[in-house]
C-alpha cells in the first residue's frame, strides 16, 4: 500500500471562493519583512555551505595560487627591492594584496556557478519559491566569504612561515574576517551582475578573465598607488579591491600599513555590496528568460 499524505487537501478548491487562506501548517511570513530577508539569506548560505561540505576539494586547489604568488613572486620581488613600500618589507606589503586577490578569485566565479544552476533548473526552482532575489544573491556572497576565510587561513600560514610580522590582536583578526566577508560580497555580487549580462558559460569565462586581471593590476595589491601614472590612480581609487587591500593591510600586519581608516574602507565595501546586490536582484530574472 502506498503511504498517504496526512494533511493532503482533497478537492477543497471548489468550496473556496475568490482568494485563498493559508493552509494550516504553511505559515506566512513568520517574521517581519527584514527578518524574512535575513532568514532567506541564511538559508541560501546554508545551501552553499552544505555543498562545500560534501566536496571541500576546491578549497585546497584554490590555495595553490596565493601560495605561488607569495612563495615565488613575493620572494623574487622582495629581493629586488625595486618597489618602495615604506616601513614594510615587500613581502609584508604584498601579503594583504595576495589575500585580497584570493578573495577576488574565490568570489568572481560565483557568477559561473549561477549560470550552471540556471542550466540545471536549480535557479528556476529557487526563483519560484517565495524568496527575495537579493537574498539569494547575498546568500551566495556570504558563502563566498566563508570560502574566502579558508584562504585567509592559508595566507596567514604561509606568511607566518615566510617570517612576515603578523598581528594576532583578536580585534584585528575580527576586523580581517569582517573585511574578507564584505569583500567577498562585493565581488560575488559583481560577478552575478556580469552573469546576468552574458548568460552563457563561454562568454562568462571570457569576461571573467577580462575582469579579474584589470581589477587586480589596477589596485594597490602588489604595488603602492603612488607609483602609478595619474590615469591608473583614478581607476585604482574607483576599484573596490583597493579598499579591501587597504583594510587588510591595516589589520593583518604588526605595523599598520594602511592609507585610509578602517571604518572608511569597510563602509565603502559595505555600500558597494548593498548597491551591487540590489542591482543584481533586479537583473536576476534575466537569467531564467
Amino acid at each position: 500500500m502506498t503511504p498517504q499524505l496526512r494533511d493532503a487537501p482533497r478537492n477543497d478548491w471548489a468550496e473556496q471562493q475568490g482568494s485563498v487562506t493559508p493552509l494550516p501548517g504553511v505559515s506566512f511570513n513568520p517574521f517581519s519583512l527584514a527578518g524574512t530577508f535575513i532568514y532567506k539569506t541564511l538559508v541560501a548560505t546554508e545551501l552553499e555551505i552544505r555543498k562545500l561540505r560534501h566536496d571541500p576539494s576546491q578549497l585546497l586547489t584554490r590555495a595553490v595560487q596565493p601560495a605561488l604568488w607569495l612563495l615565488v613572486f613575493g620572494q623574487v620581488f622582495g629581493r629586488l627591492r625595486a618597489i618602495p613600500t615604506g616601513d614594510l618589507s615587500y613581502l609584508e606589503f604584498m601579503t594583504a594584496g595576495i589575500l585580497a586577490q584570493s578573495i577576488l578569485f574565490m568570489s568572481i566565479f560565483t557568477g559561473l556557478s549561477v549560470i550552471w544552476e540556471r542550466d540545471l533548473g536549480i535557479l528556476h526552482k529557487l526563483m519560484v519559491s517565495p524568496t527575495p532575489r537579493s537574498a539569494l544573491i547575498l546568500g551566495k556572497g556570504i558563502a563566498a566569504g566563508i570560502r574566502s576565510l579558508s584562504q585567509a587561513v592559508v595566507v596567514y600560514g604561509l606568511a607566518m612561515v615566510l617570517g612576515v610580522g603578523l598581528s594576532w590582536d583578536p580585534l584585528h583578526l575580527l576586523g580581517v574576517m569582517l573585511a574578507v566577508m564584505v569583500g567577498a560580497g562585493v565581488f560575488s555580487a559583481l560577478s552575478l551582475i556580469v552573469a546576468c549580462g552574458v548568460r552563457t558559460h563561454e562568454r562568462f569565462m571570457g569576461v571573467g578573465q577580462l575582469l579579474t586581471m584589470p581589477l587586480f593590476f589596477a589596485s594597490n595589491a602588489i604595488y603602492p598607488i603612488e607609483l602609478m601614472p595619474d590615469w591608473l590612480r583614478v581607476l585604482a581609487s574607483l576599484n573596490p579591491l583597493t579598499y579591501l587591500v587597504d583594510a587588510l593591510r591595516g589589520l593583518m600586519l604588526s605595523v599598520d600599513g594602511s592609507v585610509y581608516p578602517f571604518w572608511l574602507n569597510l563602509s565603502i565595501l559595505a555600500i558597494a555590496t548593498a548597491v551591487l546586490s540590489a542591482i543584481g536582484g533586479r537583473l536576476y530574472p534575466r537569467l531564467v528568460r
Partner: protein, 273 residues
C-alpha cells in the same frame, strides 16, 4: 471553478511574440496538457504562470491572485518542476528537500516529518541520505516532484516530466501523476512532446502553435474534431500545427530560445540516460 485563467496574455521578446493573446482556463482538480512544437510558446507560458517572467500585456491569475502583481501569493500556491533536472546533485535527497522546505517557510517543528512523509510517498525514503548524483533518472524526477509537493501547492506545473526517462520510469511517473490527482485532488498543468502521454494523462489539452492556442478540448474531443476515422492524437497535432518543414523553420524564430530549449532537452536526456 477555474483555478488558473489567462486573459489576452502576451509576452514579447523584442519584435518576436512568443505568447500571443493567450486565453486559457484550467479547472481545479484537472490534469491540463499544453502541447505544441518547439518554439510554440509553451515554456514562455509556463514561465509567466510561475512568475519567472512578467507578461508584456494581458493577465494571468492563479487562485484569484495576479501572477504579476501578487507573485509571492502565487508562489505559495504553486509547485514547479522545471524541464531541466533541478535537484542539486551535490546534495543528498534529504538535504534537497530540507533546504527547499526552508525556502518555503515551513515551520521548523514540521519540517522533518513533512520531508520524511513526502520522501516516503514517492518511495525514496531508503535512499534519502545518498547524494542525488547517485540516483537514477526516474528517482531524480520523483525527488523533484517530492520537492514541489512540500508546501502543499494547489497547482503543480510539470514541464516535460518524462523527457529522457526509460519506458519503465515513464510509466511509474504517469502512475505518480495520476495518483497525485486522485489522492490529493491536485490540479496539474503539464507540457509534453509525447502524444501517448497526453492521451493517457490529460483531462483536457490545449495545442499551441506560434504563440496561440489553436485547439482546446478533451483528447477524445480533439480526435473527433478533425474528421478522420480512427484519428490519434498525433494526427490531431499534425492537423493543427502542420507537418510542413517550412512551418518548423518559421516556428523557430525565437531568438535562440528554440536552440536553447532543444539543447536543454538534450542535456536533460543525457543526464538521465
Amino acid at each position: 471553478m477555474s483555478i488558473l485563467t489567462t486573459q489576452q496574455l502576451t509576452r514579447r521578446f523584442g519584435p518576436f511574440t512568443a505568447v500571443d493573446q493567450l486565453a486559457l482556463s484550467v479547472e481545479a482538480g484537472e490534469i491540463f496538457g499544453l502541447l505544441g512544437p518547439n518554439g510554440a510558446g509553451k515554456s514562455t507560458t509556463i514561465k509567466v504562470l510561475t512568475t519567472l517572467l512578467t507578461p508584456t500585456s494581458g493577465r494571468a491569475t492563479i487562485g484569484g491572485y495576479d501572477v504579476q502583481r501578487q507573485p509571492t501569493m502565487v508562489q505559495r500556491l504553486i509547485g514547479y518542476v522545471p524541464q531541466a533536472l533541478s535537484a542539486d546533485s551535490t546534495l543528498s535527497g534529504f538535504e534537497n528537500m530540507l533546504l527547499l522546505s526552508k525556502f518555503y517557510d515551513l515551520p521548523r517543528a514540521q519540517r522533518r516529518t513533512r520531508v520524511e512523509e513526502i520522501l516516503c510517498y514517492v518511495g525514496l525514503e531508503s535512499v534519502s541520505d545518498r547524494l542525488v548524483r547517485t540516483y537514477s533518472g526516474g528517482m531524480i524526477r520523483r525527488l523533484e516532484i517530492a520537492q514541489a509537493l512540500l508546501h502543499q501547492p494547489r497547482v503543480l506545473f510539470l514541464d516535460e516530466p518524462t523527457v529522457g526517462l526509460d519506458p519503465v520510469a515513464r510509466k511509474a511517473m504517469w502512475e505518480l501523476i495520476l495518483q497525485l490527482r486522485q489522492e490529493r485532488g491536485a490540479t496539474i498543468f503539464l507540457t509534453t512532446h509525447f502524444m501517448d502521454e497526453a492521451d493517457v494523462l490529460c483531462d483536457r489539452i490545449a495545442i499551441m502553435h506560434q504563440g496561440r492556442v489553436v485547439a482546446q478540448n478533451t483528447p477524445q474531443g480533439l480526435k473527433a474534431g478533425i474528421n478522420r476515422p480512427n484519428a490519434t492524437l498525433d494526427d490531431v497535432f499534425i492537423h493543427y500545427t502542420g507537418n510542413d518543414l517550412r512551418e518548423g523553420i518559421s516556428g523557430s524564430e525565437t531568438q535562440g530560445g528554440n536552440y536553447r530549449d532543444t539543447s536543454a532537452t538534450r542535456r536533460t536526456a543525457q543526464r538521465l540516460g
